[in-house]
Structures are given as C-alpha cells and as structure tokens.
C-alpha cells in the first residue's frame, strides 16, 4: 500500500514531466497522460479509503545535523477525504477540459500544467510535516500562477497571474516565519511529533503569534481578507481552471491546513482572529457578489464568502467528540464537511458557467444572457441543483454542511452566528439574481439567442457532479437543531423572495439606482484593490526608488567617483612636478639629496 500512496502523489508529476519532455507534440497523448494520471490517482485514493486505516511513510529530503526535512505521506481520515475530493473533482474537470479547451493552440501545455497542479495539491494533502507542506504550498502557488496566466499574451491574464502569486507570497511569508517559530519551540516540524509534544508539555503552549502567522499562509491560499484580492482576478484563467483551483482545491488548501494543525492554534488568541477574519470575509464577499455582473466573478466572490464560512468555523473550535467523524472537533469537522460539499457544487457551478460561456462565445456578462433555460436544458438543470446546494435549500448537500457550521457558531459566538445567517440570506439573494437574469426571461444578446447545449464531454461531468451535490450531505448528518433549522430555512426563503421581487423581468440592475453609493461600494469591491494599488505605487515604489537613487548616487557615485576623483587629482598635482625640464629635475634631485643629508646628519 505504501507504493500505492506514493503513486497517488507521483503519477501526476510523471505525467507533467512526460508532457514537458516531448509528449506535448501530440494533443491526444498529452491529454491521455494527464487524464490517465489523475483518474489513476483517484482510483488509488478510493482503494486507500477502502483498505487503509492510517498509513505513514517517508523518505528523507534534506538532513543536516540538527535539521531533518522529510517528504512523508500521512494517510488518515482527513487526508483520505481530501484525496478523494481533489482527485475526484479533478478527474471530472480534466475530462470537461477536453471539450472546453479543444481548439486551444496550447492544449498540451494546458494539460501539462493541470497535472503539475494536481501533483502540488496532492503534496499538500499528503504532507506529514510543515516543511513539506510549505514546499507544496509554494508549488501550488506557482502552478496556479501558470494556469491563471495560461493565456499569457492577454495583459489582464498575465497581470492577474502575477497578482495571485505575489498576494500568496505575502501569506507564505507569514507562514514560513510561523514554521520557524514552531520549529524553534519544538525542535521538529513533523505533525505527529508536534502533536505529541503539545500534549506532553502544556508549558510549551504555542504562542498565539506563531498560530496567527501560520494562519497567514491559509489567508493567502484560501483568499481571506485582507489577502482576498487575487481570487476574483484569477478568473482570467480558463474556466475549468477556475472550477478546479479557485473553487474546489487550491483555495480549500488553507482550510485543510488549519484543520491539519488545529492542535497548534487551539486555545490561543489566534483562534479568535481566525474566526473573525473568516466571518468578516464571508460577509464582505457576499456583499460584493451582490453587485457583480460577470458570471464567473459572482461565483468567485461566492467562493470567497463560503471559504470565509469554513475559516470562521475552524476558528470557533467547539467541542471535542468522537462522533465528529473526520477530525473529532466540531469546528474543523464542520469546516471539512462544508469544504467537501462546496467542492462538488461549486465546481459544478463553475463548470456550468463554463458551459454557458462556451455556448455564448465567451460572453461573461449575465445581463447579456437570459433565456438559456430552453436552449441549454442540461446546463440549466445542473446549475439549478448547484444553486440550491449553495443556497442551502433543505435536503441538498449544502444545506447539511451549512447547518453544521451554524450549529457551531450558535454555540460559540452569537455575533458570528448572526453574521453567518446574514451571509446565508445574501447568498440566496445573489445566486437567485444570477440565476433569474442568466437563465430565465428573454435572451438579451445575439449570442444568447443562438446558444446551443455544450457537447457531452462537457455536460457529462456536470451530470456526474450533480450526484454528490445532491447527496453528499447525507453522509455526515447530525440531529437537527430546531432554531438553526428555522434560521437557515428562513434565510433561503427571504433571500429568494427579495431577489425575485427585484430581478424578475429586469433588463438591467435596479439596485445602483436605489442604493447609490452603497451599491457602488459593493460593485467596486470596497476599493480594496485601489487601496493596495495606492500602497504599491506610493510606498513600495518610492522605497525602491529611494534605494535605487541611494545606490546610484551615494554609493556608486560619491564613494566610487570620490576615489576616482581623488586619485586623478593626485595624478594631476604630481604631473605639475614633471615639467620635462632637465634643470628642474636637477634642482629637485639636489634638493632631495640635501634634505636626506640634513636628515641623516642631524
């Protein structure tokens, strides 16, 4: 079984390597390698679930006296669940891409990058120590960079890729410092050893600062405020990439990591920071989603908001109990539950959006769609299921996982519970808006009028994903709490009624006229990007400018030219003595002789 575990990780790397080494010449072979690798990983993951309780295996990567970094695989309940999500959703998205990317001239490169991404993501999932996690953390960052900037000739895509990578790097900075702090405290980076040490020595309780710094890594990858700005821009990548990376996997990595190292932050002040950052991100992103017009951007903000939910509930913690099947803690269990259901239905929504975009000739503005219901029935129905799941309509998967979050929030913090309910209302509101505008009513553009259902290579993955989006919730049901049940059903009902009242038969968005500045703030994403742009232009650039000037003038100029100048001056002065006149030389010679004599005799 150890070999199988290694193969899960390595197959996508091998595929990516082969494509890079030459298989890229043939589109079919590249796609074959890539899809073969990820499906094999998926099948092997399933066999892990069936056959293996826990498994640990490692090889050494770097060992110096006093420092030991391993590449080790840790297979337990948490990683098995995540493995299935990543490779399962990943396989379907690979297949969907066959259709979506069919005509792209860089088809092979696309599949090479996808494989590289799957490899990096599986590394995070399987990691049994902090350093390995950091290594794959960075690799996920770069493969996401490559995929967002896949259409690199388009300036907006190239800029978005750069922004995503750098924003993630800011988070990684905190993450690495956090790892250093943990290492110096416990002399190890291995999760299992850390867990033992934490339990053994209460006195060595980790400082909240270290916990918070580690959370910074999650803040970058899971796009939590204030490092959320890269995710909406990342929609510049191909839509299947948005589905895979920016809905189901990479952005979930932060939440997964928090669950993995929850024992390190539990009980410190970092917990509260995590909870509140998550809650506020959820609220803010939901507000932003209300006023977006680009179908992918609405989904992107929705992803931010749902990730905020997950992070919030991790931070809330909750009780330890064995009936929380995955992690044994209420908060992290709810987070992983929601992560799983969200991966399915959000990936499906993104693929549905991809199908719509494909049919409408890459039109992404929902106000230029409309009436797609009759023309794209499969996409319509699956999108409806996804919307229901996301809104938390009872009996759909999202309903159960969202309820699990609300239960924990209700017990641990009433303010955050209220925020979570408001977010639920907003979620239903913006999803209903999206749905009504894009799929019902009359077609508002020629493209929408002539849209045709996508080919089956794209609709079949949608239909397959609809199954877990419907039923994934039944695997982890708990007894319902009447108050929570009431709150969540009411949230859906109100959100739906508001949105229906406003957007039924609307040709353009009526909200900006009604709410003015507030709607504009939501549309402009509360000016975060402008603020960062200002900081970069005024602080970072000026700092660089000052150092550059200092480098050029003070050090290079004054010092070097000073040495140069004084040497030359000395040369010029000495040249005055060299007149070429024999008598002058004779005079100086005699004068020197006299001086030496005087000195010697006195």
């Amino acid at each position: 079984m150890e070999l199988a575990a290694w193969l899960i990780l390595l197959l996508p790397l091998i595929s990516s390597g082969l494509i890079g080494m030459g298989a890229f010449r043939s589109k079919a072979v590249s796609a074959g390698f890539s899809i073969g690798a990820v499906t094999c990983s998926f099948l092997l993951s399933l066999s892990m679930v069936a056959n293996v309780e826990t498994l640990n295996t490692s090889i050494n990567w770097l060992a110096i006296e006093g420092l030991k970094f391993d590449i080790g695989l840790q297979i337990d309940k948490l990683s098995k669940l995540m493995l299935c999500v990543v490779t399962g959703v990943g396989s379907l998205i690979h297949i969907f891409s066959l259709g979506y990317m069919k005509d792209d001239k860089d088809f092979s490169r696309y599949f090479g990058f996808l494989s590289l991404f799957i490899f990096s993501m599986l590394g995070i999932v399987l990691a049994d120590n902090f350093v390995m996690m950091f290594i794959f953390w960075e690799l996920v960052g770069v493969s996401s960079y490559l995929l967002i900037g896949f259409w690199f000739e388009k300036p907006s895509a190239a800029d978005a890729a750069k922004k995503a990578f750098l924003t993630n790097r800011v988070g990684d900075f905190g993450f690495l410092i956090g790892i250093l702090m943990v290492w110096i405290l416990f002399q190890t980076v291995s999760f299992s050893e850390l867990q033992l040490n934490v339990q053994k020595e209460d006195a060595l309780m980790l400082s909240g600062l270290a916990g918070f710094l580690i959370f910074c890594g999650a803040m970058g990858k899971s796009a939590q405020a204030p490092l959320h700005v890269w995710l909406p821009d990342a929609m510049e990548g191909p839509t299947p990439v948005s589905a895979l990376i920016h809905a189901a996997t990479m952005v979930a990595a932060g939440v997964y990591m928090l669950c993995r190292v929850f024992f390190l932050i539990e009980g410190t002040w970092a917990m509260e920071a995590v909870a509140w950052i998550g809650g506020l991100t959820a609220l803010m992103a939901a507000l932003m989603a209300v006023q977006q017009d680009d179908i992918k951007r609405i989904l992107a903000y929705s992803t931010l908001s749902q990730l905020g939910y997950m992070v919030m509930v991790v931070g809330l913690g909750g009780e330890h109990d064995d009936h929380y099947a995955i992690t044994g803690v209420a908060g992290t269990d709810a987070a992983m539950f929601h992560l799983t259901t969200h991966a399915f239905f959000k990936a499906m929504l993104f693929l549905g959006a991809g199908s719509v975009i494909y049919a409408c000739h890459h039109e992404q503005d929902i106000w230029k769609m409309g009436g797609l219901r009759s023309r794209m029935p499969k996409t319509y129905w699956t999108f409806l299921i996804g919307t229901f799941a996301l809104c938390g309509v009872p009996l759909f998967s999202g309903f159960f996982s969202k309820e699990a979050i609300l239960v924990v929030a209700f017990k641990e913090s009433i303010p955050l519970f209220l925020i979570a309910v408001v977010v639920a209302v907003l979620t239903t509101f913006y999803m209903t808006r999206l749905f009504i505008v894009a799929f019902t009513g009359d077609a508002r553009s020629d493209y929408a009028k002539h849209a045709k259902e996508s080919p089956s290579v794209m609709t079949v993955p949608l239909l397959i994903l609809a199954v877990p989006a419907l039923f994934a919730g039944y695997f982890n049901m708990h007894e319902p709490d009447p108050i929570i049940l009431f709150a969540s059903v009411m949230a859906v009902v109100f959100g739906f009624l508001f949105a229906r009242a406003i957007y039924k038969n609307a040709d353009k968005d009526p909200l900006p006229a009604k709410f003015g500045i507030f709607a504009k703030a939501m549309n402009e994403r509360f000016w975060f990007d402008e603020f960062y742009q200002w900081i970069i232009e005024n602080v970072q650039e000026n700092l660089a400018r000052i150092t550059d000037i200092a480098d050029r003038w003070l050090i290079a100029g004054l010092l070097v030219r000073g040495v140069h100048g004084s040497t030359e001056l000395a040369g010029r002065l000495l040249r005055l003595a060299q007149t070429g006149n024999l008598q002058t030389y004779a005079f100086w010679f005699t004068a020197g002789l006299v001086a030496v004599l005087v000195f010697a005799l006195s």
Binding site: F152, A158, V170, I177, L180, Q187, E541, L543, R545, T547
Partner: protein
C-alpha cells in the same frame, strides 16, 4: 586518479593550443575550447560521482615547488569544494556554449576565456595558499580585458575600470589579511591544511585575529559584492560579454565566499565571532537593499545583476549564523546560485544577441517567439525567487532555519520578506515584461536558442533540479567538512548545532 589536475589543466592547455591556431580558423578555435571544457566537465562529473563522502581530501596532486618556503603545487577536493568544482566545470562548459556571440578577435577571446576557466577551477581546487591566490588572479585579469574589449554598451570602459578598481582593492585587502595570517601564525608552509592544523594547536593571538578577520572579511566580501561594496557587480555584468558574465557571476565570484569559509574563519575563529554579527546585518542589507534596487531596473541585465548581489546575502547570512546548518546551507546556495547566475546571464545574452537591447519596457511576448529559451527563462526566474524543486530553495530554506536558530530573528524576518516578496516581485515583473503580454515591436525577428545553447541551458537547469530534489547529494559531504570549521569557532558541540536557544 587525480582528476582535478586534468580538470584544471585541460582549459589551460586549450588556451595554449588556441594561441597556435590562426585567428581565421574561428570554428577550430571554438571546437578546441568546447572539447577541452566539455572534457573537463565530464571529468568533474566522474570526480563528483566517485567522491567518497567521508574520505577527507581526495584526487590529490602534490608537487613540491620551493621547499624552503613551503610552497607546493597542491590540488585536492573535500566535501566543500568538490561540489563547487563540479558546478564550476559545468558552468564553464555552458559559458563556452554561449560564447558564440563573439565575432571579432575570436582567437584572443578564446585564449583569455580558456585561461579564465583554468584559473577559476584552479582557485577552487588549490590546497596551497599561494596557488589559491595565484589562480584567482589568473582568472581575474582576463575578466577585465574581456569586459574592456568585447563588452557591450557605451559604459563598458567605465564598467571595466570600476570592476578592476573594486576587485583589485578586494584582492589586495585579502592579500594583506593572508600575509597577516602567515606571519602571525609563524607558518613555514603555504599549505592550507597544514596552516589549519598549526593554528588549531596554537591559535593566532586574539588581538591579531580581530584585525586579520575584518581584512579578510571585507577583502573577500568586496569580491562577492558585499553591501555597500556591491555596485561594481550589476554594472560590470551588464557590460560584460555573455560568457564572461556567466563565469564570473557563476563561479569566480564565489571565490571570496570560499575564502571566507576555507581560510578566514578557521584561521581567525575568535575574530570571526567578534565580526560575524556585523556580517549578518550587511547580509540583510544585501538582501533587502539590492532586492529593492532590482525592482526598479528596466534593463534585464541590471535586474539579474542586482538580484545576484541580493542572493549573496543568503550566503553571507548562512556564514554569519556560524552553525552547521548555516554553513552547509551557505555552500549549497553557492553552488545553486552559480548554476542559476550562469543560466540567467546565458539567457540574457541570448536575448541581447537577438535585438541588441535588454530594455524590458520594449520586450514582451517572447514566450511565444522562443519557447525553449522562454521556458528556460521562466524556470530560471522561478528558481531565482526560491521555488521548491530548484536547488536554491533548499539552500535558502536551510539558511533561514540556521539564522533563526542563531538568534538573528529580525534579520531572518527581513530576509524571508526579501526572498519571498521582494524577490517574487522583481522576478515576476521580469517574466511579465519579457515573456508575457503582446509581442514587443522590434522583437519580431528574434529566434529561439540554437541546439548547442539550448543544451547549455538544459544542463544548468537539470543540475538545479537534481540538487533541488536531492540536496543530500551535496550536503552530506559539505556537512562533514563544515562541522570541523564550526567546531573551531564553537568547541562546544551543542552550541555548534545551535539547538540550545529554545525560548520558553
């Protein structure tokens, strides 16, 4: 088998052969040089693979030269320099591959290039203080001439002049320091191992160590562009011909660091402890200051030059940490950076050859135009901003841990910021400006790299990846030798490991 002798002598032999070939036979000249450096690279690979990790000094050649002075021609390799020599020989071969852009006075250029290669490799292989210094000067003098005669741009005379001034000053300070060591140790031999044994038994007077060490630290430091003596580097490299920049930035520059580790610290351990705190702060300045300067550059070569200076900060920081992890990481980064710097300057040389300009604001979309060179450039930039999988990451990570353990917490935080964020910023800007976006106007006719040049890039990248995936290939040997040095400074074992600084 004394591989080292052949590795060092083959290029020098080639320079003699080339000097007898008529200048019109450019092809023959190039082939002889390629053959010699290729053969020496293959031999270095064999040496690297057959090297016994715990076997001490190996592949020795020892000829007595002036017995009364204790002057010997002594080559040998241990865990520290075997990797550097291997890297150096590969970089030398790659630089010859990339030297096809030289079209006038070809013969003279290749004579000098061969001498430079022989000098570089000889300096790292020498176990005798005299030849250690002699080979370095043998490599340095051709550098100045090559920049002055075959360099680019209007600034080349100023650059050649500046680089000469700086490097001569550095070499001079180091020489004074070395003489100081020789005199103070009351030595009767120039052999480096003998000298170390001698000071181990009877160390140099502490007050003398305190002035010898800074001489060596700043002397060697200037050679490695230690802040604030770094401004020669970007300017010099941007004016230098491709092959020269690759060899100097990649290999020759590491001489100063090698000297610090191999000679300065063992000879003056007390002086080292006294001064290393200052070195740590200067290392931080290298990283942050030069990183920020790199952000502002519009010329690709100035960007690579400044980033290369910034990367020296990692190595200085590793040395300043003065624990086993840190010194091992420092040598690891030396090797990784050598490969990377050669790759980056090779690529920029290829770009320059296409359009006689490296103004990044005028470039764009080159990934489509030159997929091979473009992909290599992408990977080089990624390696440069510390992406795992490349050897640089392994070394940099090790150094962060070492510096943190040594108690340089603030410096480490700044270093991590400079590496991850500032480094990412300028590397990604370079990719964005050069490879991504729509194609730049005057770059329409640019061609991808030729098979030979692509091989060179591939070779350098392959080694970066091999050492990135399996850094243990290098660190096992380095660690053994480094341990001896750290114990000279910190005789207490636990302190050397530096794992007693747990803050509870």
């Amino acid at each position: 088998m004394n591989y080292l002798f052949f590795i060092v002598m083959l290029p020098l032999l080639a320079s003699m052969i080339v000097s007898f070939i008529p200048g019109s036979q450019a092809k023959a000249i190039r082939n002889v040089t390629l053959g010699a450096s290729g053969l020496s690279a293959i031999l270095s690979l064999v040496a690297f693979c057959t090297f016994q990790v715990d076997g001490g000094l190996q592949f020795e050649t020892k000829w007595i030269w002036v017995e009364s002075l204790g002057l010997n021609f002594h080559l040998g390799a241990d865990g520290i320099n075997i990797g550097i020599i291997f890297m150096g020989a590969v970089v030398a071969f790659a630089s010859v591959c990339c030297a096809g852009d030289i079209t006038h006075r070809v013969k003279e250029f290749y004579v000098l290039l061969n001498i430079m290669i022989g000098g570089v490799l000889g300096a790292f292989a020498s176990m005798d203080l005299f030849f250690f210094y002699f080979f370095h000067e043998l490599a340095l003098v051709p550098t100045f001439i090559m920049i002055g005669v075959w360099g680019r741009g209007q600034n080349r005379n100023y650059a050649a002049y500046k680089i000469t001034l700086y490097l001569s000053l550095g070499a001079l300070l180091a020489l004074i320091g070395l003489i100081g060591v020789y005199v103070q140790a009351d030595a009767d031999s120039f052999s480096i191992p003998d000298l170390i044994n001698k000071v181990k038994e009877q160390s140099i007077d502490e007050s003398a160590q305190k002035w010898i060490f800074p001489l060596l630290m700043f002397g060697f430091g200037i050679l490695v562009s230690l802040w604030p003596f770094h401004t020669w580097a970007p300017l010099g490299y941007s004016a230098a011909p491709t092959a020269t920049a690759m060899l100097h930035a990649g290999v020759l520059k590491k001489f100063g660091l090698y000297g610090l580790i191999r000679i300065a610290i063992p000879m003056a351990p007390v002086g080292a402890q006294y001064w290393l705190g200052i070195l740590a702060w200067l290392a931080m300045a290298n990283l942050l200051f030069c990183g920020l300067v790199a952000v502002r550059q519009k010329d690709l070569n100035l960007l690579i030059g400044n980033s290369s200076v910034a990367h020296m900060g990692f190595i200085f920081l590793g040395i300043a940490s003065m624990n086993i992890i840190g010194l091992t990481g420092a040598v690891l980064v030396m090797i990784a950076h050598g490969l990377l710097a050669a790759l980056a300057f090779g690529l920029s040389g290829h770009f320059y050859q296409q359009n006689s300009s490296l103004d990044m604001t005028q470039m764009g979309g080159l990934l489509r135009k030159m997929p091979l060179a473009g992909s290599a450039f992408l990977m080089a930039m990624m390696a440069g901003c510390g992406l795992p999988g490349f050897a640089n990451f392994a070394g940099e990570l090790t150094i962060f841990f070492a510096a943190w353990a040594a108690g340089y917490k603030l410096i480490t935080v700044i270093a991590v910021w400079s590496a991850l964020v500032v480094g990412g910023l300028y590397m990604l800007r370079a990719i964005r400006n050069i490879l991504h976006g729509p194609q730049g106007g005057t770059w329409k006719n640019s061609k991808d790299s030729s098979p030979l040049v692509t091989t060179a890039f591939g070779l350098l990248l392959a080694l970066l990846l091999v050492f990135g995936f399996a850094p243990n290939l290098l660190t096992k040997g380095i660690e053994i030798e480094v341990k001896k040095i750290v114990y000279l400074v910190k005789p207490d074992i636990d302190e050397a490991k530096h794992l007693d600084v747990v803050t509870r």
